[in-house]
Subunit: 281 residues, 4 copies
């Protein structure tokens, strides 16, 4: 396993796509040295974007969160979230009725901004579902799992509708050695129980990479060969970047520990172009 | 599709295994005519047993429930539940430590009766898991899904232990056209998130059929060819009976409606030996 | 189920994406009236493209095949195949070594046209695999399944490499009531045995739709809302189009018969915007 | 990881169940010292049986094979194969018509011995399938994969019938570092393409353990707690034995290397009661 420094690697590209969690930050906050790394990219004329599987907040709120944690450079236009792709889908395909959602009110406000009427799954009356035109999974909080997951299963039995999963991650880290079930995990349960085909947005799916690519090109035209995807997870960041046709760099500062990297790469067959200890090493 | 009367079919056998829900009863109570049907079996010298995927109650409590609903003939010795198989497994394989469980206190009392110490998942302290020797999924009630499913995932990350699913059903009917998620559905979620191999008891698995067969033979020796399994579900009752090597009869009084039976049999390739409208028709 | 005429529907769009098999043709040849339908689209200023899961031939050869069957209008620039996406991927990501392939020599020639050296799986020597940099599944013909599937499994055990599936279909119709296993079916077997994550191109994946969209826009700029995807298969054409954010039309001239359409749509939750008997009705 | 000697462990039991491949022998022949180990078991009054996922030969032929390789003590009555369970199933459930099979003629002869008429998949005429009452997967040899797998898929489309998989293993070792696809792997492909529910016999399924248990008890009554299952594979031997309620011993002489054992046990959650280097160590 040939480990290189991120500085050396990054200078071969014009644009960098960063995953957020495990790459720039963790549950405790932003990693030391990340701000300097980002500033030096800018100084060298390299663009960067954050590509994140998150539909719990708007890009504005995600950017604000970075600002509060000491990264004022990460403004709204630097953020590409799976929630943005889900919102685009809804604005194209849902023209009538209400969208039922699993998530917080905050997550619903974001998709309401394209004129869609929403209803929390907890408020759905199973005896009157004719005006519900889609089900969207936004966040793992904001509903009662004991009652509302069963309600969602019954909603899908009573009425045929598209189901959108706005975050494909199944778990997320909530402390040094514990995880929480995220809404993508909930989606797997509902999909298996309802036997329907859900529509998933977020890494590793090509649509979020394509959205990011178009967005980056609007700022400054760039070829795919000039973009590097940097992530800590083989099954989302690396396979997604590989498949989209851009170069990929695995960092060992999050999901995968250095001692396991080689075995995991061999056993999954997901091969990054580079491996770095971290984006600051 | 050749539909026959249950009376005609049943007289070719010495012992009948009945599924409970959708066959003898539904959410409203015992079907009309079931008591007469059972009494006529006995009058003709035919034994019967109830084979049910249920670990929420002891066989005593399951029998009591039938008595209360007007079937005093269904005594404890007539009941074979998946909970009994799980209890047998625990008594053989768990010799030390506590068994963490998802379910009600009532469901835990049953497995405690073989001298096993239990702890509800809600009371598990993730900082002190060394004395937990197994995780058992008993019932979909009795715990907080929002917090305790994540706790279960983390328990399995912190300590390697067998996980026993004492009811393989993923949903159960709770009214005419609604279902509830049962603990077998919860098991699918936890298994997929933890990537562990869980141990499942209950139809269609051979172990519950073998347990019932041995139990039946203790009362009166019988050949496999002399037993009929009667159920309303292809994926549990019928495939399980077929594979165990006994004859099977699908009834259309529960899970499957007459109009869909032929298509479902063709599309799954699960073929009952007989089809009846109901056990009373 | 509201069945409309294709003429009526198509006039609401500027560009039509057609699936080929089951929509424009079947195993016997091009459907009657298809040529007139295409000519009338052109006369009304509507663009069209064929989007097909096929990596067994180059777009030139696919176009030629249409010409031979009486559709001279379908020229190379009208064809978008999953093989084109696979070739683009290989040209971006494979810079050295040989690409081993499952398929005919003809299918290999196409990917060789970007300067990639190929070797048929049957010629791979498992004792010398260091120069093999990827495995590509192109076609179900051209190799010996008895020996070469096992060879492919062992190749993936000996060396970590990306595996590209250039056609996601698992079967294809070969006569009125028989199917053949296609290379996407073979891919499922190899992926399950090797436990690797394969990279799949073709409908329903977004990348082929995005490729087609960019290609269409080069001829004539068009909004996503002005495009209609027409297909006979829910799990590829319809869910893929829906997810990409374009309108979709299911035709009942191929995979799905009229009597089953409503049930299949309800049971999968994949909902087309329109349903037509055929593109000529 | 607490590694013990097999001699020490085995003396705590009255009956030992051995897996064959990777435990007593490999592709090169019987391991050194195995005969002495078996003789010393007998000298100490301990019974033993071989439990193997194999349907390519009769128990007589399997025993002969051991005799030829220098283990004359392994007579037919010591062998329990998944083929025996499949044969029992067929004799109970198939009363008419022909059974189509994938496998060699030799494998078919064995199931013919219960009076079942068989036809090799290669001889099935898809235009005349009315007299075919089941499909059985016996061996990975004896048919042309290119043509006969597709024929099997079409057979299952044309006629509803039970499909029996008489060996659940998906691969088997054919040399030091290569595997071959076995008929259980082929079964996965056919099941996924046909969407039918197949019936599988062999470890880890309880039915083969129960068959072995009954067989052992006929020779000498024994309690489950007095039996040890010895195997080299977590997903078949160990989980199967655990679930059946008998003690289990993982040996590191086959499938799993010592350096990976701990990680594999932790990641699968399949926990043997003991670990030994080999049955002769």
């Amino acid at each position: 396993m040939n480990i290189q420094t991120f500085k050396e690697i990054s200078r071969q590209y014009k644009t960098i796509f960063f995953d957020s969690y495990g790459v720039l930050r963790n549950y405790q906050g932003v990693y030391e040295g990340v701000r300097e790394m980002l500033l030096s990219l800018v100084a060298d004329g390299i663009d960067y974007y954050i590509i994140t599987n998150d539909a719990s907040r708007s890009p504005e709120q995600l950017a604000e969160n970075f600002v509060e944690r000491g990264l004022p450079e990460i403004t709204t236009d630097k953020i590409i979230s799976s929630g943005m792709i889900a919102k685009e889908y809804l604005s194209y395909k849902i023209n009538h009725g209400k969208v039922a959602y699993l998530g917080t009110e905050r997550s619903a406000h974001y998709i309401e901004s394209v004129g869609i009427e929403t209803i929390s799954i907890g408020n759905v009356d199973l005896a009157a579902v004719d005006d519900i035109s889609a089900l969207v999974l936004l966040d793992d909080e904001g509903f009662d799992w004991n009652t509302d997951l069963t309600r969602a299963v019954n909603l899908l039995r009573k009425r045929s509708m598209p189901v959108v999963v706005a975050n494909t991650d199944t778990t997320y880290p909530r402390s040094k050695d514990e995880v929480a079930i995220s809404v993508g995990g909930v989606a797997k349960l509902l999909e298996s129980l309802s036997q329907k085909t859900f529509i998933r947005f977020g890494k590793p799916d090509a649509q979020i990479f394509n959205f990011a690519y178009r967005h980056a090109c609007e700022q400054k035209p760039v070829d795919k060969q000039e973009i590097l995807m940097v992530g800590d997870t083989l099954k989302t960041d690396i396979i997604g970047g590989n498949k989209f046709g851009i170069d990929t760099c695995l960092v060992l500062s999050g999901n995968i520990q250095a001692k396991d990297a080689e075995l995991l790469i061999a056993s999954t067959g997901i091969i990054p172009d580079y491996i770095c200890a971290s984006v600051t090493a």
